[in-house]
Symmetry: C2
Subunit: 363 residues, 2 copies
């Protein structure tokens, strides 16, 4: 099928670019002896998780129990739930899954750990546990000086296997001078954490971190032995603005149709916040909701739910009603979550259709 | 079922508040002899469309063909597709629907109208058509001076029934002094448009406009005889900030669980942009992603996909891990689109579960 036969808006993924992205990260991880455990929230598709495993990923990462349930179909040997799972019903579902695939969870407090321990015991399961440490993002995770204390408590709890430390350097948006300085700081914090945990008599077998913007600097973080990038499979405008890839490494774009040219110097396309998400650009000049592939000089200035406003004053070409444009989203993970399916393309041919099976799994 | 038995995040709708919102708008429309044709993109649920019709709505509005297909199940006698439908496949689907329910489409150019005309003829259907005019939003719609020309062209096309004029005053965010001045300007523009259309020998039977922020000023727009508010069924933080309702008129909130309290003066809840959308506040101080019902002094400062960061420094109470909070979203339409179902509540009892059948209908 030719892409012109697709109803728009449609999320396209160039399968060759995706494959290149996957291979590059896998080779990097292998070269530096890092376990690659991709975060699958970017694609939410078991078949793509399977491809990541085939190329050398050691396991997969998810955020929610519903995502874990979906991603188990990839055949992964283990799943890291890199999110605090709170509540008996969710933990029960997770324990049911633990009968089929090794589960590890990251926690930042003893209350949550006790809940996990209790449900693991009731289910007769043994669950891996990581102590989540805040290395500067200020989201979840204990402070570095609390890490060893938490680790000791975790290691004592029945039903749990203390595996190590988790952290997320999501505050590093770009590996420029400031980013490198921040990474050095993370490095220093982490060294202190690992030292304190070891002094407490525990060996953190897993030291799990990593993100897409800092992916190819991961070998500079001493002691980290596992990385969990997500976005790298597709990349997006944020990744380019972070200088973590080039435009030609962006595998995903949204095919949209021009539906109005009534307002001067503007086209309106049939994709807005319901298609792309309203995530702003997280770096650079912060302007725009995506890159127009056919005319990078055009600016995606504004969105409503179904309307994308594109300023074409500096566009390289004109667009008529009914013509299509491809737009690289600011944040591809958020865009994927809005689509029922993704179309794998090679050139202008649709060669795959994947259902986004993990879409909208909020619980 | 008690709401504490729901897995979070869960979208709750207070059915009594919703009913009051529906009745109020229906009574207002009746009193002022306005046809009420609610935009169903806010709820995306046929059963709620049916309730709107029972309370006096004359028909329903949708944006996409996929939404029209879903909303036909409400039993509505007619559907207005208030969005430019471009492309043969979509129009074919729309014509299939036109065999069951009267369809009206709004267009802002002759190319789109020709496509609709052609497919209507092929299907042996007669479709209502409205000339879309831009009254200041700058999104879609011909300029006011082009309206009569477009109307004349539409009226000539076979398969189409010229019904009148459509416009959307979405640039009026608040009925304050500036909003009232803008509404007066819309009024003036509209008078000119209607006059020019009539002078061209056509009677615009339908003059369709309206939005939630300006809903209760609709009777001040001379010549407008149909209103299409959407958000009014649930209301949201944007509606309150627009002074178009009070907090107690907000029927919808998202029940979230506190999953981390590790960072000082902050709680993290299990709903972020994948649960609420990342839509900013469209007025007021522009700060925050929603209102914490239990502690309005808390500030929902930041989001990632699954994490909501809430600054609790000025919160009226403390929150522990595992406790739930209800959060009124900035933009409820965008939030609804992210949920598989909505729970109707009365007090703390879940009395209804609605599947969001029109969710994610992008095409």
């Amino acid at each position: 099928m030719h892409i012109s036969e697709l109803d728009t808006p449609a999320l396209l993924v160039d399968v060759d670019v995706m494959e290149r992205n996957l291979v590059r990260a896998a080779e990097y991880a292998r070269e530096h002896n890092l376990r690659l455990r991709p975060h699958t929230k970017t694609h939410k598709i078991p078949a793509l998780g399977r491809r990541q495993l085939e190329l050398g990923a050691a396991g997969l990462t998810v955020a929610k129990v519903g995502e874990a349930e979906v991603m188990a179909a990839s055949g992964t040997p283990d799943l890291l739930v890199a999110y605090p799972i709170v509540g008996a019903r969710k933990l029960q579902r997770l324990m049911a899954l633990a009968a089929r695939v090794h589960i590890t969870v990251a926690v930042d407090n003893i209350c949550t750990a006790l809940q996990v321990s209790q449900l693991a015991q009731l289910a007769g399961q043994r669950v891996g546990i990581l102590a989540e440490v805040d290395v500067g993002l200020g989201r979840v995770g204990v402070t570095p000086d609390q890490a060893a204390g938490l680790a000791v408590e975790l290691a004592r709890l029945p039903g749990l296997e203390f595996e190590g430390i988790a952290f997320y350097p999501g505050h590093i948006k770009k590996m420029d001078e400031a980013g490198e300085a921040e990474l050095a700081r993370v490095n220093q914090v982490l060294a202190g954490v690992l030292d304190s945990v070891r002094r407490a008599g525990l060996e953190p077998r897993v030291v799990s971190g990593g993100s897409t913007p800092a992916l190819y600097s991961s070998h500079l973080v001493a002691g980290m032995n596992e990385i969990r990038p997500g976005t790298y499979i597709f990349n997006d405008k944020n990744t380019v603005v972070a200088s973590a890839c080039e435009w030609q490494d962006c595998a995903a774009s949204v095919l949209c149709t021009v539906v109005s040219t009534a307002v001067k110097d503007q086209i309106v396309v049939d994709g807005g916040s319901k298609t792309f998400s309203s995530d702003r650009l997280g770096g650079g000049d912060g302007i725009g909701f995506g890159r127009i592939v056919e005319a990078p000089g055009a600016v995606f200035t504004k969105m409503n739910e179904e309307h994308g406003y594109i300023d074409v004053r500096n566009a390289e070409r004109r667009f008529n009603i009914g013509e299509t444009v491809r737009i690289i989203p600011n944040h591809v993970c958020a865009a994927v979550n809005l689509h029922e399916q993704i179309y794998g393309i090679r050139g202008e041919e649709v060669v795959e259709t994947w259902k986004v099976e993990g879409r909208g799994k909020l619980q």
